[in-house]
């Protein structure tokens, strides 16, 4: 039934709008990407770029209204999900695909114990007794390395530290051993050291279990260490896609370059050295109800030409296989590499 070349998850030209009438916001404008088993796809972008909406649409938990899916397809192992009935989608959730949310404090129900919330899945999806399910829940907490899991399983979310809560969230997502895991900013709200631990844990569990992982983040630093491939989103579009090494070596979109330039890097951390100057991207992301004509990034782009205001650049192959970028001048940027001093004049000028 399942053909060999089918992806675990394939998103094809997904379009989502919010609201109606004049205030309609086009949140997703043709997003396409895929994930295979055991692979990590990082989705990178600023706030409002459509990362979370993509994740929610895949999971089938987008609030409609105000959201509205206006086109495209989401296929899980070749099965089209957007047209599927709600019961089928529900059975896939938790069992085949699961999600880790950003803020574990609000994503966990405050009035039930952590164990109860994990055990729910064993009780209602596996038909286990309350007691057996609690034992399994404690095992899950143990799996995500929560010390004293047997005692802590009875505690409430507010009694956990931030990092522990996020671990519990991961345990909950992995309870039914899903094939696809979507992590929406799983470590953003945490301290840096805890952030690293959480990412490490996720990466390890993914490798052990062969789970496909979609990692949504705005944090280049997080992405660099764990992602196999990276999709950069801007204003509801994927503007660049490549494997991690290629993207870092030869970004093909000025927005990707901008993201890199606005993050300090180890190799230019000389104190007071010229290279230590950060160059943030000027301006703000566009309002999704008034996306600029042409290339949506042109108002903020230091290299914008006339063509950029007129034509939307398609996402196309630029050089390396599977390296795609949506910029009229992508080839030039790829050829240039992320050689920052060379672009500095243009950016500041």
């Amino acid at each position: 039934m399942t053909a060999m070349d089918e992806h675990l998850l394939e998103v094809d030209d997904l379009r989502v709008e919010f609201g109606r009438g004049r205030g309609t916001a086009s949140v997703l404008n043709g997003v396409s990407c895929h994930v295979d088993e055991g692979e990590t796809l990082a989705v990178l972008g600023e706030s409002g770029s459509g990362k979370s909406v993509t994740a929610q649409t895949i999971m089938g938990i987008l609030d409609t209204p105000p959201g509205r899916i206006t086109g495209g397809a989401v296929r899980f192992r070749g099965e089209e999900l957007l047209g599927a009935d709600e019961e089928r989608r529900r059975l896939l959730r938790g069992e085949s695909m699961a999600m880790i949310f950003q803020d574990a404090l609000s994503a966990l129900n405050p009035v039930y114990s952590v164990g109860f919330q994990i055990a729910e899945q064993f009780r209602f999806r596996r038909g286990m007794s309350r007691r057996d399910a609690m034992v399994r829940a404690a095992e899950m907490l143990d799996l995500v390395r929560i010390p004293n899991a047997k005692q802590r399983v009875k505690e409430y979310p507010h009694q956990f530290s931030g990092g522990m809560r996020q671990r519990a969230m991961i345990a909950m997502a992995l309870a039914l051993d899903p094939e696809l895991l979507i992590a929406d900013e799983p470590a953003t709200a945490l301290d840096v050291t805890v952030q690293a631990q959480i990412m490490e844990l996720l990466d390890e569990l993914r490798r052990e279990r062969g789970t496909g992982l979609v990692l949504i983040t705005h944090d280049l630093g997080v992405v660099a260490e764990v992602a196999d491939r990276i999709a950069v989103m801007y204003a509801g579009r994927i503007v660049e896609h490549a494997d991690a090494a290629t993207l870092y070596a030869r970004p093909g979109h000025p927005y990707t370059r901008g993201l890199m330039d606005s993050v300090p890097r180890v190799d230019d951390a000389g104190v007071g050295g010229a290279g230590a100057v950060l160059r943030p991207i000027p301006g703000l992301p566009p309002s999704l109800s008034a996306i600029p004509h042409g290339c949506p990034f042109h108002p903020r782009c230091a290299y914008a030409q006339d063509v950029c205001t007129d034509e939307v650049p398609p996402l196309r192959e630029v050089g390396a296989p599977d390296h795609r970028a949506a910029c009229h001048f992508a080839e030039q940027f790829v050829a240039e590499g992320p050689d920052r001093p060379a672009t500095q004049d243009v950016v500041s000028g």
């Binding site: 609030d63 529900r90 938790g94 949310f101 994503a107 129900n109 209602f124 909950m172």
Partner: protein, 308 residues
């Protein structure tokens, strides 16, 4: 929790003293001649005055009178009325009826209010939502005695479905209409509170998590949304039990129910100090304890609340 309870109980003491003294002072201390009108048209006989002065310690300063009264009260002695009836007997006869009425009212408002709130909170905007919103507005605007008088007139006198005047020892069935009248206002509040609370929780992150776990809609709503949303509703109901037991004077008056309301009303008009202060003391204690119980209950329902 234990220490919190103890501290709250200690805080009740000044409130209890303040309220009872206030009422004692108002009923007894302000009037120039406590015996005015007590003995019909004639002035009271010196013997009667002497006896009453002795019974109520009227020769002492007001504060001493109050303290003597309070001392007796703490040993369970509510004192006697002017005519010599034990106040505790009066209360024991009347209070069960008021409690029954209050419980009927709370039951009615809980069932109807929560049902209406859940119905609109889950469905969202639409005809039913507007209908419930408008009905709650009207219920809030209707004074208890107007609802009571109209229902008594229509259901009792014209249609003959109920007895316009409730008998001395009423059954639950006979208290249904008075209970509805008494609980109508709170019913509206409960419907609104439930609705608002559900609306807030409907978009909560933890509800989304529950959906993402693949739980059935029924379980998401029943276990994750309702439980969280009903916490404020349950606490409101708790406060209301305390409040209604003291607030039934109008309803009892309209339906001629022989509860605590009528007793205190007559007591005030006859300046029967022992009855009035005794009942006020009782009502205040019940009200304050009900609030305390509700606060403690809140901690049980919502594990985030910690008292220490």
């Amino acid at each position: 929790m234990g220490r919190y309870t103890a501290r709250r109980l200690l805080q009740l003491v000044p409130v209890f003293l303040g309220t009872t003294f206030l009422v004692y002072f108002l009923v007894w201390g302000i009037s120039d001649d406590p015996f005015a009108g007590k003995c019909g048209q004639r002035a009271c006989s010196p013997a009667y005055i002497a006896e009453m002065t002795e019974r109520y310690n009227l020769d002492d300063p007001l504060v001493v009178q109050y303290l003597k009264y309070l001392g007796a009260l703490l040993t369970g002695d509510f004192g006697q009325t002017f005519s010599g009836t034990e106040v505790s007997t009066l209360i024991a006869d009347a209070y069960p009826i008021t409690i029954k009425l209050a419980l009927v009212a709370v039951a009615i408002e809980a069932v109807i209010g929560i049902a209406a709130g859940v119905l609109t909170g889950l469905r969202g905007r639409g005809f039913v939502d507007n209908l419930v919103l408008v009905s709650t507005l009207v219920l809030i605007a209707l004074p208890v005695f107007v609802t009571g008088l109209v229902l008594r007139q229509v259901l009792g006198v014209e249609l003959g479905w109920i007895r316009p005047s409730v008998p001395g020892d009423p059954t639950i069935g006979q208290l249904l209409v008075p209970g509805l009248v008494l609980g109508a206002l709170s019913m509206a509040y409960i419907a609104r509170l439930t609705r608002t609370s559900l609306m807030e929780n409907r978009r909560a992150d933890f509800v989304r998590t529950a959906v993402a776990k693949g739980l059935t809609r029924r379980r998401v709503v029943g276990v994750h949304m309702l439980r969280n949303s009903l916490i404020p509703v349950v606490t409101f109901l708790g406060y209301d039990v305390g409040a209604l037991m003291g607030g039934a004077i109008l309803t009892e008056g309209v339906f001629n129910i022989r509860g605590i309301g009528g007793l205190v009303f007559r007591g005030i008009q006859q300046q029967d100090i022992a009855t009035v202060v005794g009942i006020v003391a009782l009502l205040v204690i019940v009200f304050l304890l009900a609030n305390l119980v509700v606060d403690l209950l809140y901690a049980v329902l919502d594990p985030r609340i910690r008292y220490d």
